[in-house]
Structures are given as C-alpha cells and as structure tokens.
C-alpha cells in the first residue's frame, strides 16, 4: 500500500517494485488501508512442504526463458494433439486388427503406461501436455498460445454443493469410464473404433465443460484421470510452481497468478503458488510463472514422496480417492482370476447381465474401499487416545471432522505408493508384450505393416518374467508405502494415539498387507492365465 498523498511527502517507503518514492501519488492508494494479512504460524505450516531454494529449476536462465515463452505449453500439447486425432481417425478408418491399428496400439501399449511413469516420476506432467484439456482450453481461450482477455463460453463456476466433493467427482468418472472400458473391452484392446469413440467422448465432454465453466473446471473436478494422477502423482519429484518468498505473495495485493495478467492467464487449476503444499493441483501449465509481476514463482523439484508425506492440509476426498482407486485396481486384478470368472458368470446368468456385472464391479470396489475404512475404524477404536480433541470443523464434506477422519486420512495417504505401484504394474504386461507392435502399426498406417511382421509377435518380456517385474514394482511400492505410512503415522497419529508405536506398526502393517495382497494377486492372475 502506498502512503503518499498528492499534497504530502512520503511517510513510509512503498513496497519494492511497486511505486517509487517521490512519485505523484495515486489518490486511490492513499485511501486504501487493507487489513494486515495473517502470518502467524505461516512459516511453521509450510516449512515441511517448502522445497529447498536450490531445487528451483527456474533459476536457470534457459529454463526461465522456456517457461516464460507463451508457446511452451502449446508445443507440449501439439504432438499429443496430433497423435490423438490420429488415434480417432485411424481407429475409425484404419485396420480393424486391434494390435495393428495405430490408434489402439499407441493408446494401450504405450500411452497409458507412459502416463503412469510420468505421474510417478513427475506428477501432473500429463496434464501439462494433455490434448483433451488442451483442445478445450484452446477453444475456451480462442487462442493456441496467445494471452487473450475474453474467454469463449459461459464461464460458470462449478456450484459449491458439487465442488465440495473435490476429487471424488473425478474418481466417479474414472469408475464410470473403466466400467465402460471393461464392458466394451476398449483397452484389451478390442475393436479400434471403441478406442476412437472413447477419445471422442472425452474430448467432447471436456469441450462441453470448458465452454460451460471457467478455467480448467473439467481437469480439476471431472476428468477421469485427474484424481488418479493427482493422488499417485504425489509420489512425483516435481513439486510444481511454488512461491520463492511467501512474504512477497502474502503482501501482493493483486494476485496476478490467481487473476491473470497481460502475460499469463489466471491459474486454470485454482492453485495459489503462495500456499501450495503439494503437487496435487498444480497442472504445470506455467501460467502463474508468466503472470507474476514480482518474478516470485519458481518451478521446484522435491524428494520423491514429499507430497505424500509432508502436507499438513490433507484432504478427505483424496483419502477416499485412494481407497476407491485401490478397490478399482484390486478389482482389475481379481477379475482375471478363475474365482471371479465363476462368480461373475453365475451372477450374470441369474441377473441376465453381461461382464462386467455392475453389481460385482461396484460391489467389489466398494467392499475393498469400505474394508479399508473398516480397518481404520477398528484401528482408531483400539488406538485413539480418548482425550485427544477432535478439531472443530465446518459442515461441508471436506470440512467435517471426526476421530475416524483423523485416522483415515493420514493412513490412506500413506498407501498412495502401493496403490500407484499396483496401477503401474497392471499396465506392464501390455507394454512388455506388445509395445513392439507399434512399429508394424505405424507401418500399417502406410500399408506396410502386418501381423506377419516379426515385431508383431515380439515381446520385450514374457511371462513369467513380467510377473517378476510386477512383483518387484509392487515390492518397491510397498517399501515406499511402509516408509510413508510409518512417517505419516509418526507425525500425525502418534500424538493422538494411546500407543504410538502400535499405531505406527499398524500403518506400516496395512501398507505391507496391501503390497502382499497385490503381489499374491499377480501370481494368481498369472496362474489363471
């Protein structure tokens, strides 16, 4: 706030980089007397999640130039845009052999696996280059990369009664999409046109949301992959765009990173670099970096698992997302077993349905998610210190508090690595077995590839080696989950438990049990196949 008047000299120096002393005052600034911002407890709150200054890659001039360039994200999106329009077209017009169709081959043998690699290593890397959201955003902004000021569409905000469920909306759409995928055997891969229609469906629904709502409401709330990438991405080593000096952000009266400026758009993801304490909602789009008038935003790296372990502002929706996603991936393992096949057949015969029976699909996922809840409920009944106060909360879904939540949320965060590892391991067979088919699939595009190609039948790895790799991946994930659960329980639960060691052992044990269950299921799956 400037303290100059037109008739009086400066009585206090203005903030650096804003208005120089001695200038003719803006009479409005004279009348503005904002309340002091709240800073108490700020440093302590963010200390565990703030990355070290040395991990700011934007300090490197070349990186800074790249991030500052408005074409940066466009150039990330463009190749994917080309690939996925090719997927749509070739899926509809190309060969009907799934393994030889470029659309199915690149989507299911390579892309889906790469998405998991990116989320485990980086975080929301895919979101930065996603052609589905990217396409909607180009239309919404009426520009490919330029900063335009007038958006196309209605610019609505997602209504609060819906938005309060946060990532659970995305979890729901992922469950729906997976059910559709299982029903039509899209990712098998089945008929190439199914993959095309799935991509068309995602692009179209994204476009509808981009035109009806502001910013990336679709990506933040609705995208089927958003919750998955957000939770599993917490393992990633990119913290995202964060403040360099929080005091500057708190003192900033204009918040261009949130409202936009001439150089950059307002954060499409509803994230403020000044308070981001995980990479959960940073879409790595670089807009805040471009907008900041104080050059106070950096792109930070972090140690793996930091966004799992460190945040103190944990979300109940994310906890349920972890448990439901765990249920989903376990379902996807269970459904490859003989026991499931028998049960599903019996159920379908009696209900006159076909695979996947929505009842056992939803039932198994719900049962597993509720089992996690049940285990936590028992654990908190046994281990919670009865005199530990339950903090006052609000009444919205995210704000309510209870003793169950106090245990459930941290314990589920601790499981993120094993859930992520399981999803990743689930994609490996298709990659190892069939990714070489991409070469004849590209050839088929030009009429050159065929199923007789030696690469078509070539496997990078075959069973049982794949199972070994899967189990190894699960083992790594389990180790990480045991470690994160141990740390989280030590920090968040030990203080509110009657037996601190027992609660830490319970957390680690839960992670271990999940890992063992997943590994055993892979072995059973292999046996079944």
């Amino acid at each position: 706030m400037t303290t100059l008047t037109e008739d009086e000299p400066a009585v206090a120096p203005p903030p650096p980089g804003r208005q120089p002393a001695g200038a003719v005052a803006d009479p409005v600034a004279v009348a503005v007397h904002l309340r002091p911002a709240h800073r108490r407890g700020m440093d302590e709150h963010f200390a565990p999640t703030d990355p070290a200054r040395s991990l700011d890659v934007a300090r490197h001039p070349m990186v800074a130039r790249l991030l500052r360039n408005r074409r940066f994200q466009f150039l990330l999106i463009l190749p994917n845009q080309i690939v996925f329009w090719a997927v749509i077209l070739l899926g509809l017009l190309g060969t009907v052999v799934p393994g030889l169709n470029f659309g199915t081959a690149i989507t299911w043998y390579l892309w889906f696996c790469l998405v998991f690699v990116m989320m485990v290593v980086v975080g929301r890397a895919w979101c930065a280059m996603c052609p589905f959201g990217g396409f909607g955003e180009w239309i919404q902004r009426r520009a490919l990369w330029q900063r335009t000021q007038k958006a196309l569409g209605l610019g609505r905000k997602l209504p609060e009664p819906i938005a309060q469920y946060g990532f659970l909306i995305s979890v729901g759409s992922f469950l729906l999409l997976t059910w559709i995928e299982e029903t039509f055997n899209i990712a098998g891969p089945g008929a190439p046109h199914s993959t095309s229609w799935m991509v068309v469906g995602i692009v179209a629904s994204a476009l509808v949301f981009f035109l009806a709502f502001e910013r990336r409401t679709f990506c933040r709330y609705v995208c089927p992959l958003s919750a998955l990438i957000g939770t599993v991405g917490a393992m990633g080593s990119v913290a995202g765009f964060r403040t360099r000096d929080r005091d500057v952000c708190v003192a900033c009266e204009t918040k261009e990173c949130m409202r936009g400026s001439t150089s950059g758009y307002a954060c499409p993801w509803y994230t403020w670099p000044g308070s981001a304490d995980s990479n959960l909602t940073c879409g790595l789009c670089t807009e805040c970096y471009k907008s900041c008038p104080s050059d106070n935003i950096g792109l930070y790296l972090q140690k793996p698992m930091t966004s799992v372990v460190a945040p103190s502002r944990r979300r109940f929706d994310v906890a349920w997302a972890v448990s439901v996603l765990w249920g989903l991936v376990v379902f996807q393992q269970v459904n490859a077993t003989n026991v499931y096949a028998s049960a599903d057949t019996w159920l379908n015969t009696h209900l006159h349905l076909r695979y996947p029976d929505p009842l056992d699909y939803a039932g198994i996922i719900a049962a597993i998610a509720l089992l996690m809840g049940g285990i936590v409920w028992v654990a908190q009944r046994a281990l919670a210190r009865k005199d530990a106060p339950v903090p006052t909360g609000g009444t919205s879904y995210l704000d309510r508090t209870s003793r169950f939540r106090m245990f459930f949320v941290p314990l589920m965060y601790g499981l993120i690595p094993v859930v992520g590892a399981d999803f990743f391991a689930r994609q490996l067979p298709k990659f190892f077995k069939h990714v070489p088919r991409l070469v004849p699939a590209i050839g088929a595009w030009w009429g050159a590839g065929s199923t007789r190609s030696s690469l078509y039948g070539y496997h990078l790895l075959a069973n049982p080696r794949i199972v070994t790799v899967q189990v190894a991946v699960i083992a790594l994930g389990t180790l990480a989950a045991v470690s994160t659960s141990w740390k989280i329980a030590g920090r968040d639960l030990a203080g509110i438990s009657s037996r601190p060691l027992a609660v830490k052992l319970t957390a680690a044990g839960l992670a271990l049990a999940c890992g063992v269950a997943a590994s055993v299921l892979y072995v059973i799956m292999h046996a079944a196949s």
């Binding site: 008047t5 009479p27 009348a31 007397h33 407890g41 009266e253 204009t254 009444t395």
Partner: protein
Amino acid sequence: MTLTPTRPTREHDLASPLVTVLTDRCAGCQECIVRCPTGALAMDSARWVAVADQALCVGCRQCVRTCPFSAIAVAGPLLVTERIALHTTSPAVVEGDLGETRQGIVGWEDALAEASRCLDCPDPTCVRGCPTHNDIPSFVRALSARDLDEAHRVLRRTSVLPDVCSRVCDQAVQCEGSCSWSLAGGRPVAIGALERFITEQAPVPPPSLPAGGGPGTGLDVAVVGAGPAGIAAAWQLAEAGAHVTVFEKAGTPGGLLGWGIPDFTLPSAVAERPWEQLRAAGVELVCETPVSPEDVERLLGEHDAVLLAHGAGIPVTPPIPGVDLDGVEDASSFLERAHAALTTGSRLADLDAAGAARSISGKNGPGAGGSGAVVLVLGAGNTAMDVARSARRLGARAVCIDWMDARFAPVRPDELEEARTEGVEVRFASTVVGLDGEDGRVTLARIARTRQEQADRRPEILAGTTEAVEVDRVVLAMGYRLDTSMSTGRQDVPFKKTVEEYPDRRTVASGILASSSPEFARHQPVGRLSLARESARVAAAFPRGTRVWVAGDALVGPSTVVEAMAQGKRAAAAILEHQPRRPGGVRRSPGHVVVVADSLGGHTRSVADTIAEVVGTTGATVEVCRLQDATRAVLARADLLVVGTWTEGLVVARVGPSSATKEWLAALPPLAGTRAVVFCTYGVSPKDTLAVMRRALEDRGAEVVASGAFGPGKLAQRAEDFARGLRSKLWPGPGASRGASEPTMRAVER
C-alpha cells in the same frame, strides 16, 4: 469463532447473512480477509483457509467480489440501516423562483446517522468510483467525529470544488453507485449529501499558499479557461507557489459553473466561491480574452507552461431545415441569458433584449415570449433539463424532446422527475424533422415519432407520424463538441476515454468490476465507467505539445465538472513534477527516471540496472520496470525515459527491437518534450534497432538524447561507461561525477 455451514438454507429464510467458504478452492490467499470491512474473516492457520465469523458479517459481499477463485459465497440480507431520505422541494410558483431545489441534510443527527452507514471499507470501491478519487471513508470518518477541519483537509487532497460537486455530480453512477452496499444490491451511503453537509457546516477553505516557497516557486503557468479544469489547475499551482495567469473569454470566470448550471441546482454564491478565493490568493485572471491557437505560441514564449482548459463549447446542431431561423439558439446562450434575466427579475420576453451574443443565426430579433410561450428543447439530458426548467422559471411552457426511447435515454431519473414536477413536458422517442418560421422567426416545429429497439441501436424515424407543433423558441441542447481548431496539432486530442483490455490490476482486485451493474446506478457498469474516467485523468498528465498540457472538456470533449476538475488537478501536478521552463530558462536535470527494459536472457535487464544504479547516484528517483509494468501512470512520472530491448531477429534478417518492445512503443502516450534514451543488447548486430526505437519515441514528441548498443563482451563495463556518460551529460555540475572516475560518452551516440 463460528465456522461456516456449507449449505446455506434458502436465502429468504435467513435473518442474517450466512458466509460459506468453499475450502476445496480456498487457497488461503487472504484477499477477502484484507478487504473485509468488518473483520468477519480470519485464517484457520491449521488448514490455511479462510473462516468466517458469522456474527460479524453484515452481508456486503466484498469478499465474494474479491475472491480470485470464487471460493466464498454470502447469502442473506444486508445488515444496514435505512438510507436517509433526501428531499427535493418544488417551488409553489415556478415562475421567477431562484431557490435551490435539492435539499441537503438538515441536522447533525441525520448526518451522523447516515455517516454511520459507511463501512469504512479497507479497499473502498467508492473512491475508485469517484472521478477525482475523494477519500470518502476518511471524510465520512472525520464527519462522524464532528471534525470538519479534518474532513475538509481530506477533501482538499483531491478536490477544490466539494460544495459544487456535491450538488452537481451524478453520484448514482460514480461514488454512490460504487459503494459496497450498492454493489451488493442495496442502497448506498448518501455520499454526496454528506459531502455537501460538510461544506454547509464549514466553508470550503481558501488555497493555502506556501510560506517559504513551494515546488512551483519560479514557475509561471498560463491557463486558458476559467472553468472547473482551469480552477483546479490554478488552485493546485498557486498552492505550490507558481505564478498563474488564467485567460477567460467570457466576462466572468467559472465557465460552466457560471452560466451553464442554473441557480436552482447550483446557487450563484457556491458557483462564485472558487474564483473569489483564487483571486484573493493572487491568481491573475484575465477575462474577456479569447485565446486563439496562434496565441498559444505567444503564451509559450511568455510562460513556462500552458494548460489548455477552454472546454468544449461548440453546440451540436441537428441537420434539419430551419435551424438558422431566429428564435433558435444553443443551450449555453440560452442558459447564460436566462441566468442574467432571472437574477434581474426578467421574463422570457425580455430575454432577447438582454443582449446575448450567441444565437445560431446570429440574429436575435425581438420575438415572442412571455407567459404561455412555448420553448421547445431538443434533447433530454442534463443541459436540456436545465434549459427547460429555466424556461419554466421565465414563465414559458417547456417541452423537451429526445429521439431515444425512454428506456435507454441517458437522463438522470431524479432530474427528470424534478422537471416533470415543475411542469416540463418531456417526450421521448420523438425528434424534430424540420423547423418552419414566419418573417425569419421560428413558429412551427415538425415532430416525428421514432422507434428504438435496443440501447445500442440508432433510433429510426417512423414515417407518417409527423405532427406540427407551434413553438416560440427552440433551444438546441443535444450536446457539445470540441473546437477542433484548438486541438489541431495536439497529440491524441480529443482523447477517447478507454478501458484497457486487461484493466488496472488493483481495480480488478478491489472487486468493483465484479458487480457490473448495480440497480442503484441505473444498471450502469460502474467499474468500467470509473476505469474509462481514470484513463482520461491519467491522460491529462501527458504534455500534448512541448510545455502544453490539456485538461477537462478541452481534452476529452463534453464531460462532467468533477472529471474536468480531476484532470485539471492532474495536469497541474504533471507541470509541477516536470518543471518545464520557457526558452532561456534554466532547465533542470531529470528528477525522475523511468528505465523500461525488455530482457530475454537477463543482459538487457543488467544494463538497465547498471544505468539505474549510476543515475541513482545523482539523487534522481529511478524506477526500473518490465514492459508490462511500464503503464501510462508510470510513464507520466518520467522526466527521463530510458528504454532498452533485446534484439530480435535471425542474425542478419528481420533484426530489430523485440516484438513486445515494438508493440509497447506503438502504444506510447504523448511524450512531448520528455527526454529519452534508447539502448539495446545484441548478439551479432543491432542493425537499425536503435533507429527504430528512436523514431518511435520521436514520433510521440520525445527528445532522444542518447542511444547505445551493447554487444557481447565486457557488458558490465560498457554499460557503466554509458551510464556515466549519460550522467555527466544530463546532470552537469560537481555532484554529477560522484563515484565516477572519468565520465565518458564513448558508448553514447548522438
């Protein structure tokens, strides 16, 4: 503290406001907290989100307007007391009445009650809505404390006409339309009435002259025009110690205040007050002295600066037959003579004998008039209402016609009601298609109906609807335009008020733009209106020729008293900042240096920083900013403008300033007489980068005093040499060599 329920019950069920914070999107940025008028919002440190204390919320929705992520909602009523009822008195007998119709607040009790409705907002949107940015919460606070001296001190920072503005401003689309209550859908604080109450309880203080010399001592400024812009500029310059001479073409000063606004809105005593005080303060007033464009050159030889504030006095004339008949005249002529006639107790019949000069035809023969005579007023805006109501007071029947539909006509509802109460007939969707006369004098007006479907559509005349109306006099009150002969050769005059595509970020943050059309403001977009006015106020700071500034209607065309005053004040401040000197005078070293740099990899920025550091040793204020931060408001401060860019291009092809720099240069405001320096950094060759920049600056009137191109190698040393050379050139004298071993101009081309 009570935490917030998320799902508000139905709004009409609520007896008090209910705040909902959507924690999913609340980022804890505190934009709502720092701006909440009542302190109802605080931080939950554990979760780092905002929480609301429902008991403190009054429902003003300031938080809703300012939250960048739409993460807060307020339902329920506004907890505010009833706005005071302000009375308008209609004279029992209109004819001959000279009394003021709009009444102010009568007693302290009412004033204090109304003042208590002010929320004293931390980021007061009313201040942004006020064209001159009066610190409204502060003067209301002073009034609440019964400290009228302090209230006047606060007002004096931004206004010299509080008694006038409080009577003539259309507060509904300015301060009151931008009041937090108004933006929230309620009735605003009666800001205008409170301002008037202050001036009625304690007289507006005269200019306070600097005892031991002020920043304007030694400056000699000529002001052309003694209207609101001229008054404000003369006042500000006189208070700074400058010698001011004001030239006025009329016999009495005041411009529009004197002849344009009738006594029933602005009593003569109030209108004459500013000039009585200015003359007593030593401002030299030269009346009956029209200044022609040629005279301006002469004035520039005799004065250090000239401020043109001559207004926009050319009446708009409809393209219809008969406008040159006797009895057809423009509004200013009519109002001027009506004012004179009324103060002497005359009637309409005596008007022509009053000897005014300006009828359209130039022939003011004795005409019909007197009781029952019909005065047809073309237009239904402010001026038209003033004309019609004056005509009523002169004993005539008055009919206003406006071709716009009543729904879209830009008429103040309060004025329309007052006029109709006084017997003025106002017809919308009607237009005059021709005037007929006998013996050269107008007797008949042919009036046709019009149709207008939408506000932004031009009304169309309906065929076959023409009727003839007998008239005795026709007054053209369809607006005015600028005398273009005075603006010939002046950069960007008339200035078109604009709202930037990306509006001022502080205005955006205040939330005034979030609620675009309050009901109280007749659904006008008050935020955008305020931004447009502000663009003109900022524009008044730029010289429109060497040592020539323009303000008020002379700059933007017909506008309002308060805008003219604000611009006059801003132009005077610019003159005081830049301290221009007539030929032969001692030109001072730049006191404020603005260094603008567009840097790609940091080299340009490092040269800019070096220049800033070296120039800063002279005691000048130096401001280094990026292109996007170098707004007009920043450039207005520059005595010396240093512009640097990186060199864009493919080694030898298409080499020049960066695209962003070129765009920025193309949008430069007038910089007549401002000294400038250009520099660039390059990899292989700058080619004609500097020439392009120099040309762009010189096109805007700047005087480029040095330029330098910095290639690879020894950048820091060469930049320092350049800066030292610049320093010794522009800050001559012993102090200039501080810190410099041997000033050099090696890198400086000129």
